[in-house]
Symmetry: C2
Subunit: 704 residues, 2 copies
């Protein structure tokens, strides 16, 4: 009993008040494996051998993570030499055939006759990735007794784009402030920066753009370079490079020049000197991300130059240092085109083959702007002689902010598996992004981060899954997002199948539900003006037509939808002929994209036999009903989830349920004012007048 | 050994990964009492008796806090009836002679012959305060075996003022975003709101103003009232009422009126209806805080009316509901007076006796604006027929933000102990604030909060002490701030005297050090323009003279300082004759206030024998040297403090050291350009030119 008392006393001393779960630990919780399952894991985690290599900072954090993970999962492993006993884990850096620089291999081997788990890689960063994978195997209760796993990332640059401003506001951020505490940097680096790096490394993310693409030149001044360097130093052991968004007009604003003309030698010299200056303090600086000539941002077109002129000039500045320039194709010129969806392709396609090797054109998944659903962007497959990167949005600007549960895996997967048919069938977007379609080496997948100072990082527990699935897909764009959801749910909550199955099911349908209650059947951009919160199908007028809802829905007495066929804007011609022809053909096009490509009568017959009007109304209702179902599902999960996280999700689902209903009611009221048709049987009339919905305002909405 | 294994296993299950200390727990950490000292505490914490009263929400949280605290400190107490055994703690609500409504009594009594600790109060909130006090006794290792304590707060309304905007920025906030998550309210109440209430209740704070005094009318619209109500519901069990800052022009902005004239019946009706509406959802709403006709805010003077007209009109709206109006005396009219320091007195003194009984005039501690040192505000003692509240600033707008270690206890104490001599000697500011000097019942002490979403709440570990000492002084304005610092240090870090003594010493001198390295000898308002960060003695020009540094320092070839004697602005005449005469008399005035009241030659002889110039330069150096000493002291504290918190403080002290030096160098460079005198022997010349100091800019400084 004395021993017991001592042990308990000791334990209390170490951790007297276990803190409530709050989501801070993400999918790296490392909670103890249940007793019945622990044996085999403990047997393979008896000891950690000293690394077979000089212990670099990366190997140091790899070993620390392994110790931390195993301590939590199966108890503290001791230190022992490989081959001295069974169950030793050996970290090893040595050339590995068949693996990329960042790949890893996990094998169960006999060393001196003793069973040893060897986590090996050509470079130390691969070992860190292997460690996270090994811990994931235990976290998700997969067998670890006879391992032979090899994995290499298919995409070279797997990046987060933070739209974080220097005053710590976050454009389209719904999870608190920017985690980058510019004011206190470099004198103080928040310990959270280490956990940020750990989380990213655990899913293979190897780059982060620290500041908003709507950039300020200040971020390129010496004080801010020093601040970025402090972050780079913190992230470096985790294999994460820092990048900066560069404001194209910086030569004027901080360089004392009169112009930012990319062909002006003084401008090129400014950027060369600036790059040299940055690389002096951040030797592995990743490079620049640039939003040019879009939404009012400065760019080469201000001087009659082209995207090629601008991008290549910057590329020449960072190239000697091994840096890259990531040039966004999300252009949005002052002149309004006949069809906004066509602009990116029109501007960039002609330049294929003219960009430097260290330039990547970063293309949003769709041609408009991160809508709940968009057909894949026509540039994918259309620029075989250029490096083409993918830009997904992880933060849910158009998907209910952080209080709607929407798992984005299926959205990402839908885009990545879309077939561009650029070189015939099987020319998927994934193969463009991973470079295999056209043999490109410099590949990029970027996600606009949903990370902020909220304790749970992403604003909600389930939005963590979107960060997670993005990283996993950047590693392997052909991965299965249902399996990824299951991994996430197990690590984040519990392996109990009574939880995993229903919750993964719920997640998998959640994005389609959001499409249904917001913008069904190919509708898009119907959100409230500027903040993009809630329904705003009536948004019209103002600065430019292509920032309005009516521009995209084209609702009228005659019907609904944007004609992008040859009889309309002919945006379908930007796709490979077979693809474009199908989109343009009512018999071929998937109804999920119907109103994206076609303007149809209210009485158009859907495959269900419903008229367009009736089918539309029913779709909205289906979306609402799905959220009802999520509430029911989640209520039943209470036994498997700690109270604080369960309560948070419950609150948010209630908000989502109310807002889904509001979306349905307001949209039905608006479109009904054009269709003038009765609601289908059983469908309730909106409880408010259209005028009441239109009159609602939302001051102080976040993320603007 | 089997028992040991089980015990350890169990402990791991409960808390597998004890989180690093990060300051979130504030002074409520409840870490186990060291074994050698635990006995007597455990003996008095054997059991908690069911409360002798219906268990109200407040009693419920009181019992929960007691359980939580005792569990952490001495092990989980069981539940047992009082008198059934020794060591039972009894919570009791019953009329208590000699205590105020919020007071408590803690006594060791015999119940049925069994030793019982009775925590008793007239109302349930007193029991909660008593519980926190009892836990504090254990936390600070005071004996609890023979208790006979009684305590009542001396000030009625003990309030935080949050200068928090509806977009979650915080004016003069240096600790992250606003903790009030307006967007997700009322659908979701962050669990942090409960910990906020616990922390405030633990130091007796009983009111909180949720929004900035530079208010938006939106906060008075139905959606925001519902959000405030959700917070009120959360805070209510902890005895905390919510208040709102009211924008005086709200009748125009949200009421559809053409005027906000307080004598217009429609305006009065608007406010009456608005009050009724608020009280319908928040029955115990505290009332309105108003900043009127100051720094551009609207107010009654816009309509040719007076502060009395405005305040009384609002008071009549909330009065029937028991609400109060807190009207700030920090007025800052468009017309610039000869001496900014005189304006508050000039505007308010004539109205003494004209305000309603439920109006409080809230006066800043000094006549300028929360400087490192100010003489007490001349309004204290000058309005005997009015309710006069104190407004301190807890956030360190002018004191180095959250990265300078400055314990504000001595600043608050200095003001509170200042003798107004309004009714002869002993008429201290404390006696004005607690109402005893003139028999006022409605008393207020307000602190402008330093609380934000930073994990440690206040931006730094040591800034928590400023929140703490403010609360303790609001409970008892005559309390000793060194003793309070010791309580705080013990609860927040450790009772080890090798820590407590040097750290409390360090804290107690830290404010004087900041005065020395920023604005010694009565200088004031020498900070950078607008952000108030760092030295800006050269700040001149711009919108108004009294927002500049040169206005306040009046440096010239002839000397330095603001003449507020009868030969100058005669601000000294606003004080009681004996007080004003002393301030005006070079033989009487304390040198700490010298340049506040006098313009003196550079060769003026200080008491030390130094010339003003030499003494000034030495003072700056003394401040820097003190910060050096704090670094040394803190480095030696490593054995007593967890690594994460120790590292954070270390980082910040380094920042403070560098900035103290910068303050000294820049100030010496600037004032030296007027004095044209050599530096005293041993003093180093500033390493940069004055022009270099002046050229420094600080974009994206927080808190603006």
């Amino acid at each position: 009993m004395r021993l017991l008392a001592i042990a308990l006393g000791l334990a209390l001393l170490v951790a007297p008040a276990a803190r409530a779960e709050d989501g801070y630990d993400l999918w790296l919780r490392y909670k103890p494996v249940e007793a019945a399952a622990k044996g085999p894991y403990a047997a393979r985690a008896a000891a950690i051998a000293p690394a077979r290599a000089a212990e670099t900072p990366t190997l140091k954090v790899a070993r620390a993570e392994l110790e931390r993970g195993l301590t939590g999962l199966v108890g503290k492993p001791i230190r022992a030499a490989a081959g001295s006993r069974d169950g030793v884990i050996q970290l090893s850096v040595a050339p590995q055939a068949g693996l990329s620089d960042e790949g890893y291999r996990i094998r169960t081997e006999a060393v001196n006759g003793k069973t040893t788990t060897v986590i090996a890689a050509s470079k130390d960063i691969g070992v860190l990735y292997g460690v996270f994978r090994y811990l994931e195997l235990i976290q998700t209760r997969q067998p670890v007794d006879k391992l032979d796993i090899a994995s290499s990332p298919k995409v070279k640059l797997r990046m987060l784009n933070h739209w974080d401003n220097l005053n710590r506001t976050v454009e389209r951020g719904y999870s608190g402030q920017s985690i980058f505490d510019w004011w206190r940097l470099p004198g103080h680096v928040d310990p959270r920066m280490v956990d940020y790096a750990r989380a990213n490394a655990s899913i293979g993310i190897n780059g982060t753009v620290l500041n908003n693409v709507n950039a300020k030149a200040d971020s390129l001044t010496p004080p801010f370079i020093a601040k970025a360097a402090a972050l780079a130093d913190t992230f470096r052991p985790y294999g994460i490079k820092v990048y900066l968004s560069a404001r194209f007009s910086a030569p004027i604003e901080i360089g004392g020049l009169k112009t930012a003309d990319p062909l002006d030698p003084a401008v090129a010299a400014f950027w060369k000197a600036k790059a040299d200056e940055i690389y002096k303090t951040i030797p592995d600086f990743g490079g620049f991300l640039v939003k040019a000539n879009s939404e009012g941002q400065p760019g080469p077109q201000d001087y009659g130059r082209t995207h090629v002129d601008g991008a290549n000039m910057l590329a020449d500045a960072v190239g000697p240092h091994g840096g890259v320039v990531i040039w966004r194709a999300f252009v949005y010129s002052h002149e309004q085109p006949d069809d906004r969806a066509k602009q990116g392709y029109s501007e960039f396609k002609p330049f294929d083959g003219q960009f430097r090797d260290n330039v990547v054109i970063q293309v949003k998944n769709g041609a408009i702007d991160f809508q709940p659903r968009e057909p894949f962007h026509p540039l994918f497959g259309a620029m075989p002689k250029s490096n083409l990167g993918m830009e997904f949005q992880i933060t849910k600007e158009y998907l209910g902010f952080s209080t709607h549960l929407v798992y984005l895996g299926p959205l990402y997967e839908e885009t990545l598996r879309s077939d561009t048919q650029a070189h015939g069938k099987g020319s998927t977007v994934a193969k463009v992004v991973d470079g295999s379609l056209d043999g490109r080496k410099l590949t990029v997948m970027a996600g606009v981060a949903n990370i902020g100072t909220d304790r749970n990082w992403s604003g909600s527990q389930f939005d963590q899954a979107n960060w997670y699935v993005f990283g996993r897909l950047a590693w392997d764009p052909e991965a299965d997002t249902r399996a990824i959801a299951a991994d996430w749910a197990k690590m984040t909550f519990t392996n109990d199948p009574r939880f995993v199955k229903p919750v993964v099911d719920m997640m998998m349908g959640s994005r389609e539900a959001a499409v249904d209650y917001m913008t069904p059947l190919g509708l898009h951009h119907q959100m409230g003006r500027s903040h993009h919160y809630g329904p705003g199908p009536w948004v019209a007028g103002g600065e430019r037509a292509d920032w309005t809802s009516v521009y995209y829905a084209k609702a009228g007495p005659d019907g609904l939808g944007f004609d992008r066929t040859p009889s309309g804007s002919n945006a379908t011609a930007q796709y490979a002929p077979a693809v474009g022809a199908c989109y343009a053909d009512l018999k071929c096009v998937d109804e999920k994209d119907l109103l994206w490509f076609h303007h149809l009568s209210w009485d158009y017959r859907l495959k269900s036999g419903d008229t367009l009007w009736n089918g539309l109304v029913k779709r909205y209702g289906q979306g609402v009903k799905y959220v009802d179902g999520m509430e029911t599902t989640w209520a039943a999960m209470a036994p498997y989830v700690d109270a604080p996280r369960h309560a948070e999700v419950t609150d948010y689902l209630k908000i989502q349920r109310d807002e889904a209903q509001w979306w349905r009611d307001a949209s039905v009221a608006w479109f009904g004012s054009f269709s003038k048709r009765p609601l289908p049987p059983g469908e309730k009339a909106p409880p408010k007048t259209l005028q009441e919905y239109e009159a609602m305002t939302f001051p102080w909405a976040p993320g603007i």
